[in-house]
């Protein structure tokens, strides 16, 4: 059985956290540039130019793109033929976060007393098992300006596809300027309450268009309708309210239709590594 030490996992998490917070990924930069080319309003263009310029300055000065370096969300796919040695997996993830956030803002605290943990731990870790002897780690530090504007609703089966679309669009509309548009929208449809929320988050964290033709069409339609809302970059009006919409689905119960919408700001940070 292949062994992977917790040290290797901590190192990987530390590096991913630092990299994604400082260097905006190429895919997002490209989406921002495309948005700049299509934007029609003066403030919309100005705000997109600032976002692109900011990503360049962050890289050049080796500083975080945004001061909200987020709460770290990790999706780990662990091969069943891997033996993790030297400690616990989640402790290793948190050690990586602790090291990475020495120079970043510590935004994590106890929810009721509001006491800061002072090292940005714990991370939110989602583990799934898969075939093979590797570990795939996806890291997505989540800022809360956008997280706060996310929503979940247990729709009725009678609400059907129109109800789903309306809920997604309503959520983006209610978010307005708050989540730093143009946003990336993750949608989870089906499963149970928590499954829908995790799918919505995963959709944003991996940012890959759906392979299923019908779902890909739904993503396109939602993007078009969201961009007709007119909220625009930083909410000052424009044709770019969202950069992308990603949808994930899962079978659900005969009595239900859970839908979760996770909103991500234009600093769509995420990165992946396979150990």
């Amino acid at each position: 059985m292949r062994e992977i030490s917790v040290e290797v996992i901590s190192d990987a998490i530390e590096k991913l956290c630092k990299d994604v917070c400082i260097q905006l990924n190429e895919k997002t930069v490209q989406l921002l540039e495309n948005a700049l080319n299509t934007e029609k309003t003066e403030f919309g263009k100005a705000n997109l130019e600032i976002a692109i310029e900011n990503s360049r300055v962050a890289r050049e000065n080796n500083m975080p793109i945004c001061q909200d370096t987020g709460m770290v969300v990790v999706f780990a796919e662990i091969g069943q033929d891997v033996h993790i040695v030297g400690g616990l997996f989640e402790d290793a993830v948190n050690e990586g976060v602790r090291r990475a956030y020495k120079d970043f803002r510590k935004s994590v605290l106890t929810p009721i007393d509001r006491v800061n943990t002072k090292d940005n731990t714990p991370a939110v870790v989602h583990v799934s098992l898969c075939k093979g002897d590797k570990i795939a780690l996806t890291v997505a530090p989540k800022g809360f300006g956008s997280e706060n504007m996310s929503a979940l609703k247990m729709l009725k089966p009678s609400d059907s596809i129109e109800g789903i679309k309306n809920f997604v669009i309503e959520t983006v509309k209610n978010a307005g300027a708050n989540p730093c548009p143009p946003v990336v929208v993750g949608v989870g449809i089906g499963g149970t309450m928590e499954k829908a929320a995790i799918m919505a988050k995963h959709a944003v964290a991996v940012s890959v268009p759906a392979k299923d033709e019908a779902i890909a069409k739904l993503e396109e339609e939602l993007l078009e309708k969201i961009n007709r809302l007119g909220i625009g970059p930083q909410g000052m009006g424009g044709v770019n309210t969202a950069l992308a919409v990603y949808v994930e689905t899962y079978p659900t119960h005969i009595a239900g239709l859970p839908v979760a919408v996770n909103i991500q700001c234009h600093c769509a940070r995420h990165g992946e590594v396979v150990l």
Partner: protein, 179 residues
């Protein structure tokens, strides 16, 4: 571009600003976000002395990253202003002149702007690295234990902002098509 410097010589200068105007801000401003606002309001309500004078000051809603070596401050873009709506009208009534942040404000804040001839300036959300370049000095002046949420005094140069609510109560976000 209109340049404004704090401390402001004549507060009437702010009354000339109209929504959509581009502003470059210079001079001394203070940071405060959720936790610092909660404390300031609690002090005012219990009649206690404040750690800073609110008279005619500009408050920037931000919680900066730690300063890298050789720099006064880390990334410091604006946070969502709406969370300060519960506190902002009282602070404006106590003398604060300018709010700096991102996103919409509620009617109570708009009314408080009108009542006090105060303004709300929007900074570009997410532009933390770019805005850090405008900050030349940074010192913690109150609530040190709140870490990034402490009140910092910043010296800024040419901080680029857009007038989002003016002293007449006009609101740039209300002009969007969908509303």
């Amino acid at each position: 571009m209109i340049e404004i410097t704090f401390p402001i010589a004549d507060r009437k200068e702010l009354e000339k600003l109209k929504i959509g105007d581009r502003v470059l801000l210079n001079g001394e401003i203070y940071t405060a976000r959720d936790a610092a606002h909660k404390r300031l309001v609690a002090l005012i309500e219990s009649g206690k002395e404040l750690p800073i004078s609110l008279k005619d000051i500009a408050v920037y809603y931000t919680g900066p990253c730690p300063a890298p070596k050789g720099r006064p401050i880390g990334s410091c873009g604006p946070t969502t202003s709406g969370r300060m709506d519960a506190y902002a009208p009282l602070l404006l009534d106590c003398g604060q002149a300018v709010m700096i942040g991102k996103g919409e404000r509620n009617q109570a804040v708009i009314d408080a702007c009108k009542r006090n001839k105060a303004v709300y300036l929007a900074a570009a959300g997410g532009a933390g690295a770019l805005l850090a370049d405008c900050v030349k000095e940074c010192t913690v002046v109150a609530f040190d234990e709140l870490l990034s949420e402490a009140i910092h005094k910043l010296k800024v140069e040419k901080m680029p902002l857009i007038v989002a609510i003016d002293a007449c109560g006009n609101d740039i976000f209300s002009l969007r098509e969908y509303k």
